[in-house]
Every structure is written in structure tokens, then in C-alpha cells.
């Protein structure tokens, strides 16, 4: 990224025409949008699969008579979420809710959040296990591209100076005050951006794939070390669930930042590649 079309001279007065930089190369753009659709389908079909047994355990085994650390359930007239000993009523949203036809249902996640909208474990698995391949192949190709074509080294690599707590704290404060970089600095990723993109591409998504594979009894036989890595099949299932929500959290923050930083410019740059640098602030920050 950051191949400026017009050279940016930081000392010069702000140019009248906005400075455009080619910020996202084609592979990034393609992967971004394919992944956006894929992760949404994986999340929603994953919720269908979760609805088949809305209880999570630690260790190798776990079924209805064993202690679950997370349960989404229902009583005669309410829905609830229990995590450990903490319990909250979730009637209307989780555990007991009313569908579009006005019928009360007691599946954990409501129909509007699942694929398909009705409860079908078989169909949820079909969607999930197909798009898992799309995600895994896309991620592998993108990882290879970031490594081989310099994206990782040039754009995502965290420089030594950026690791300083003072620098990180400054970026945290800037984000909290919605003070986004301007001028040439806006063409580069900040430390929090770098860490979150590296975290998603090289930690969370591979973790989703690895814990997903650990739930395969076929692969358990040929790769038992994955079971040991995650502490058993039910632990892998729990980690898969937690990591999925970590990805949702990333998505929420990501979307909020896009909206706050100028949605048109941000989205256009992820479609065409070209990003307009916000003009330098007068206070020289």
C-alpha cells in the first residue's frame, strides 16, 4: 500500500485537490469481501449447529448429565444464559423468543441469526462445512501472498519503536478520542490496526480452523496431537465458540472505525483500492 499517486510533502501547505493513495492491492480487496461474506455465513450456520446442543464443556467429553460452563436454555416461561454460576434472563433474545410468524421457540439463538432460519442441523452443517473450505483456502492463499509479496513486511510488520508502551498508549488515546491520523500518516496502519489485523489473520482465523478440525473424529484419529493442544474435543468446541465471538468483536470495532473514519472513503478504498488522505490537521498533530 501507500504508493502515493501525487507525492506528499508534509511541510507543504495542504493541497487543494485531495491526495489519493493506492492503499489496498487487488488480492487484499478480493479476500476482504470474500471473507466478509464467508465469515457471516460461517457465524450464522455455526449458530444453527450450536442450537443442536447449546451447552459448552471443558475437557474431552461432555453431554447433558455433565457440568457445562456455558448454557443457553429455557424454563417454562423464560430464556436464560448461564456462564459458570452467573445467570441472566434473556427471554425474547436467547433461549425463548418469538419467531416472525408469532410462534414461541426455545432454540438458543433466534431464527433471524441462523442459517437456515428454521432449525436444521443437517442444513447448518452443509453451509458450515462448505464455507469452511472457502475460508481455509482463501486464508491460506492470502497468508502466502502477504508473506511472499511483502504486504506483511511492509505494511503489517510492527517496527521496534511501535512496541513502546508510550506509542501504543498514544494510539489507544487517539482512538478513544476518535482522533484519526491525517495526511501521510493516514496512508499507513497504526499499531492497534496492525495488531488487530495480524491477530485476525495469523491467530484467530487459524485458531478457528484448528479447533474446527479438532471436532472431526476422523482427524482426531490421524492427528491426536491437536486434541492434546486444545485439551480435548469439548475444550476445542468451547474455544471455537469463544474465538468466533472474538471475531464478531473485531467486526464490530472494525465497522465502527470505518463509520467514524469516513465510511465512503474507507469502503471505496476497499473496492477500488484508492484512498483519499484526510487533509493535515492545522494543529500539526
Amino acid at each position: 500500500m501507500a504508493e502515493a499517486k501525487t507525492p506528499v510533502a508534509s511541510s507543504a501547505p495542504a493541497p487543494l485537490a485531495p491526495v489519493r493513495v493506492y492503499r489496498h492491492r487487488l488480492p487484499t480487496r478480493i479476500w476482504h469481501w470474500v471473507n466478509a461474506v464467508t465469515l457471516l455465513i460461517l457465524l450464522m450456520s455455526g449458530l444453527t449447529i450450536f442450537n443442536a446442543h447449546p451447552r459448552l464443556y471443558w475437557g474431552e467429553y461432555g453431554a447433558n448429565f455433565d457440568r457445562a460452563w456455558l448454557v443457553i436454555g429455557s424454563t417454562a416461561d423464560s430464556g436464560y444464559l448461564r456462564v459458570g454460576d452467573w445467570r441472566i434472563e434473556t427471554t425474547g433474545v436467547l433461549g425463548r423468543w418469538t419467531d416472525a410468524a408469532g410462534e414461541e421457540k426455545t432454540w438458543a439463538f433466534p431464527g433471524w441469526s441462523t442459517i437456515p432460519t428454521s432449525y436444521s442441523l443437517a442444513d447448518g452443517r452443509r453451509w458450515h462445512l462448505f464455507f469452511a473450505w472457502v475460508m481455509a483456502i482463501g486464508l491460506t492463499l492470502y497468508m502466502l501472498w502477504t508473506l511472499l509479496r511483502g504486504h506483511l513486511r511492509k505494511d503489517l510488520h510492527v517496527r521496534r519503536a511501535e512496541w513502546s508502551p508510550r506509542h501504543i498508549w498514544l494510539d489507544v488515546k487517539d482512538h478513544a478520542r476518535l482522533r484519526f491520523p491525517t495526511g501521510e500518516a493516514a496512508a499507513r496502519y497504526g499499531i492497534l490496526q496492525k495488531l488487530s489485523y495480524i491477530g485476525v489473520i495469523f491467530v484467530l482465523l487459524p485458531l478457528m480452523i484448528a479447533t474446527g478440525l479438532t471436532m472431526s473424529p476422523g482427524l482426531n484419529a490421524s492427528a491426536p496431537w491437536l486434541l492434546d493442544l486444545f485439551g480435548g474435543r469439548q475444550s476445542a468446541r468451547s474455544i471455537h465458540f469463544i474465538a468466533a465471538w472474538a471475531l464478531v468483536a473485531f467486526f464490530v470495532v472494525h465497522l465502527a472505525m470505518v463509520l467514524l473514519a469516513g465510511p465512503l472513503n474507507e469502503i471505496r478504498s476497499m473496492v477500488t483500492g484508492w484512498f483519499r488522505l484526510p487533509p493535515e490537521r492545522k494543529d500539526g498533530a
Binding site: 474431552e60 423464560s78 484419529a221
Partner: protein
């Protein structure tokens, strides 16, 4: 806590709001039901089966655990008590007259009693059972290797699948399942007659059930009364190789 409970009236009002989203949701389900979409999605199953068969050791053993790892209670699922007087009579007599027919493309069709089967070489294994729903339970199974029965019957070269017929009727049909010869000849694929050192309980498939340790629970046919060697699954049931596969499109290959 009760503050969080939404009054019924408010629930109904919300349902009215949700009704506005009905056309969108039904459009989503139309995509789910389109034959072309289902065909594309089912490529995932074939990719999973082919890649697991190609990239992993076909004879790899499922992990075997120790007695300390056993689930305190092994949860039964699916049929817990087959309906009908015939099964009840078998259960009352301790399955003394239960027969397991071994038929199809075999040199020597067999009709085995439970005494015959218990007299065959035993294999005991403590394995984890994974239900398609997501839960797991660890149990100790004792039975005879399926490969031993197949060898006794003399399976012909043209055989590609083994079909397991069951005595439990769900709705309109009897339960059945099938597997390929890789899993049929796998050393841990056994016809089990004991669970946790006790006679196999009815809820878990008495008198005889399949253990096919590298696949999900619905493949583990219970109440087995016939084993059939076939070259094709087309003529069995609706042709998809299993009761749930025929009805709600569960994957035939349930290794993932």
C-alpha cells in the same frame, strides 16, 4: 432477575415488528432449498471425505482412553426402546433368539445368534462417542471386529459398502446405516454387545450395535439384526446410505 423477563404483551408486539422481516427471511430459506445451492454445498462433504481419505492414515486408530476417563453416565440418543411386540419378546428372553443375518455379496451367508457372536474373538476399547449435535461421551465397548464377521462370510471383491439393518422403526421406516470398506475393515470397527463391562443396555442398542469410531454418532447403528454386503447403495432406502441421510440430508461421510 425478573426485571429481564419481557412481558408476553411486549413479546407479541415485537413479533409484529419481526413480521416485517418475514419476506427477507423466507428469501434466505428459498436459497437454502434451491437444488443448485444444495448441490454446491454438498461438495463440501465430498471434499471432506476425499481429503481425509487421501491425506490421513486410513488405518489410524481413534484414541483409546483409560477407565478413569469414562463419562459418569453414557447418554443414549435416538431410539431408546424399539417399539413392537417382537422386540419386547426378544428383550424378555434376553435376546436368546435374536439372529443377525449376514447377507448380500458373500460366499457364505450367515445367521448368527448372540451366543455365536459372543463366542467370537473379543475386542474391548474405551473410546469417545461424538454426536453430530456436539456432545461427547466416553464409554468402554466390547464386541467382535466387523472384519472377523466379514471374513467368516467371505465378502466378494465387488463389495464396496456394508449396510447395517436395525430393528428400531422411526416413523415410516426402519433405521439403517452404511459405511465403506475402509471403515468396515478398520480394527476398531466392532459389533458391540457390552458397554462399560455390562450387557449392552436397551437404550444403547441391545443386543448388538455398531461402533465405527472415526465417524459421528448417527453412523453407529443400534439394534442391528442384519449386515449386508453390497456393491452400490442406490437400491437401499432412498439411496443415500442411511436413515437420516435419506430424510434430512445428513452427510453420509460423518468423519467431520
Amino acid at each position: 432477575m425478573n426485571n429481564f423477563v419481557i412481558p408476553r404483551r411486549q413479546l407479541i408486539a415485537r413479533a409484529g415488528g419481526l413480521a416485517a422481516t418475514l419476506p427477507f427471511l423466507s428469501a434466505c430459506d428459498a436459497i437454502n432449498d434451491a437444488p443448485a445451492v444444495r448441490k454446491i454445498l454438498s461438495m463440501g462433504e465430498e471434499m471432506n471425505r476425499a481429503s481425509q481419505r487421501a491425506l490421513t492414515d486410513r488405518n489410524a486408530l481413534a484414541r483409546e482412553f483409560s477407565r478413569a476417563d469414562l463419562s459418569p453416565y453414557f447418554r443414549p440418543n435416538g431410539t431408546r426402546l424399539p417399539a413392537g411386540a417382537a422386540y419386547a419378546a426378544h428383550a424378555a428372553s434376553g435376546f436368546a433368539d435374536w439372529r443377525v443375518a449376514v447377507t448380500g455379496l458373500v460366499a457364505r451367508p450367515l445367521s448368527l445368534s448372540m451366543a455365536d457372536i459372543r463366542a467370537m474373538p473379543k475386542r474391548t476399547q474405551i473410546t469417545r462417542h461424538d454426536c453430530v449435535e456436539g456432545w461427547s461421551a466416553i464409554g468402554q465397548w466390547t464386541g467382535v471386529q466387523l472384519s472377523h464377521i466379514l471374513a467368516a462370510a467371505g465378502v466378494k471383491d465387488s463389495v464396496r459398502y456394508i449396510v447395517f439393518r436395525c430393528a428400531d422403526r422411526l416413523g415410516d421406516a426402519l433405521y439403517y446405516e452404511s459405511c465403506d470398506m475402509v471403515d468396515a475393515r478398520h480394527p476398531q470397527t466392532i459389533m458391540a454387545w457390552a458397554l462399560n463391562d455390562a450387557v449392552l443396555p436397551i437404550a444403547n442398542g441391545a443386543p448388538l450395535r455398531l461402533r465405527i469410531e472415526r465417524q459421528l454418532g448417527y453412523k453407529h447403528a443400534k439394534y442391528v439384526n442384519a449386515i449386508e454386503a453390497v456393491a452400490s447403495l442406490d437400491a437401499i432406502g432412498a439411496g443415500k446410505g442411511g436413515y437420516w441421510e435419506d430424510r434430512i440430508d445428513y452427510e453420509w461421510y460423518a468423519g467431520i
